[in-house]
Amino acid sequence: MKSTSRFHLPLYAFIVLAFVMCALPVDAHLYSTGMGPFYDGLMHFLISPEDIVPVLALALLAGLRGASYGRRALFTLPVAWLFGGLAGLSAMTTRPHPFIAAAWFLMLGGLLAADAKVSLRVTTALAALLGVYHGYLDGAGMGQFETASVGLLGLVFAIFVLIALAAAFVVRLRADWARIAVRVAGSWIAASGLLMLGWAVRTR
């Protein structure tokens, strides 16, 4: 029974995700660098806290768990983001739910702060879920641009690089104080999520 439920975890996650994405219309944008859509997409990711912070949190979490986790996140998240983005390109009327953005901050920040012993399967599911959800939102926001698919590549490239650097950085950390510092970063991310949640409730 236990193994069956674990086996179905990614499936459940995607069902939840599908409901979430169908829920509301979205609004996003593509930052213009003037250097072509690839760099526009790359910059879009780098200046979007709601994108970059959860990715960073996941990379740090995977890094704390070890090289195999980092590797899994490195390939799962960008691929999921790409597929989510491609799916989102044709959907131009979705709106990111503020509770869900806050939930990502809270969950990933919390797991990181707690140095949670998540399994490789859960890490993969989290990466896939995060990638498909945020990719879909980005794709939906970028769909109005003719060169959105190239922008999406730039965005995915930035994600790939960030995960590789951040996860590898943490895997190399051996000193206790350094690993605690990473967990402190997780607590800040979770705290930011709480603030976002409060703000979302207040302005609802």
Binding site: S32, T33, G34, M35, G36, F38, Y39, A67, S68, G70, R71, L74, V150, L153, G154, F157, F160, V161, A164, L165, A167, A168, F169, V171, R172
Partner: protein, 337 residues
């Protein structure tokens, strides 16, 4: 450091492709020069680059209250379209007024704007497609001018897929840290020499053959990378810094064409040259640092690439070099794009 692990670089190479496939040196900036010739009156030089007979679709739109003092003079050159105007901007001049560039947002190039006022104040800015207009400021320090050209240098590298691919090819051949240092230094010294020579007007290389030669330098590296993987040796593999220096001379002319095609005023050249070169170095070193950091990250994460992925970087460098060579040689001999 062991040799830069080529197995991962395909990711970077492929994405480089996606970014700027065939646009390397073809995005020369447009140039607007405004000189105050009498209080409130200005001469305007507006130059838009032309490539293979096609003019960039950028229009100069001066403030509405500006009047022409005489008929504009339009000249079509082989590499650019030049318009000269003489305008009266009224007693307040152009300070604080907005000049627009409709159509710039549809391009991937920039406009270099330079303003000289009667009292000796000078002002330079680079206008990007993301904000296709400029408001003329009252003054600008030399630091501001330098900053403008540094940004232009960084952008040129980030936008120049051919330069990045050449550097990438060198990194794939380099075997140790000392050789990396020598190779990067050789490339830097060489392109700095020709950048300076060309910018200061001591030598000139036509853009089309130059671009074809730069493409050829990338094509040259493809077989060398494959040879290096097979454990074979060659002069390039033993002394990559020599090749970096030799081809760096070519690439320097390429950098210079990006800087000088706009027709910069001569008295600003030294500052522009140094700042632009600093920007190019920032961009280049940033790119190398990113590649090395990624390579190290992959080793820490124990990423094992499949065989096809291991082979891809060399073939990507070679194939793209071949593609650009054919494309640019066709352009050189008047073929269609």
């Amino acid at each position: 450091m062991s040799r830069v692990d080529s197995r991962f670089v395909w990711v970077v190479a492929c994405l480089l492709l996606a970014s700027t496939a065939a646009s390397a040196h073809e995005a020369r900036p447009a140039y607007l020069e405004i000189k105050e010739i009498a209080p409130g009156q200005f001469s305007v030089l507006w130059r838009t680059p032309v490539l293979a007979g096609m003019r960039l679709p950028i229009v100069l739109k001066l403030p509405d209250d500006v009047k022409n003092l005489r008929e504009p003079n339009v000249q079509e050159l082989s590499d650019s379209f030049v318009e000269r105007r003489w305008i009266d901007a009224g007693p307040t001049g152009l300070a604080g007024k907005r000049i627009e560039f409709p159509g710039l947002q549809l391009t991937i190039t920039d406009v270099l704007v330079r303003v000289e006022l009667l009292d000796g104040r000078k002002w330079t800015a680079i206008i990007h497609p993301s904000q296709p207009w400029v408001e003329i400021a009252a003054s600008q320090t030399w630091l501001g001018v330098a900053g403008t050209y540094i940004v232009q240098g960084v952008r040129h590298i980030l936008f120049g897929a051919d330069h990045m691919l050449f550097v990438l090819g060198l990194l794939l051949i380099v075997k140790d840290r000392w050789m990396l240092l020598k190779t990067v230094t050789g490339f830097t010294v060489a392109h700095s020499i020709t950048l300076a020579i060309a910018t200061l007007g001591y030598a000139e290389v036509p853009v089309l053959p130059l671009n074809a030669a730069i493409a050829l330098s990338i094509l040259f590296l493809g077989p060398e990378i494959v040879r290096s993987w097979r454990g074979e040796t060659s002069f390039t593999i033993r002394h990559p810094w020599v090749v970096a220096f030799a081809f760096g001379l070519l690439h320097g002319f390429g950098f210079a064409s990006a800087l000088t095609s706009a027709g910069l005023p001569r008295h600003e050249l030294p500052l522009a040259l140094v700042s632009f070169n600093v920007g190019v170095e920032f961009g280049q070193l940033g790119f190398i640092a990113l590649i090395l950091a990624l390579e190290r990250s992959f080793r820490i994460l124990e990423v094992r690439w499949p065989r096809w992925a291991q082979l891809l970087p060399g073939y990507t460098v070679g194939s793209l070099g071949a593609f650009w060579t054919v494309q640019r040689v066709a352009l050189l001999f008047g073929g269609s794009r």
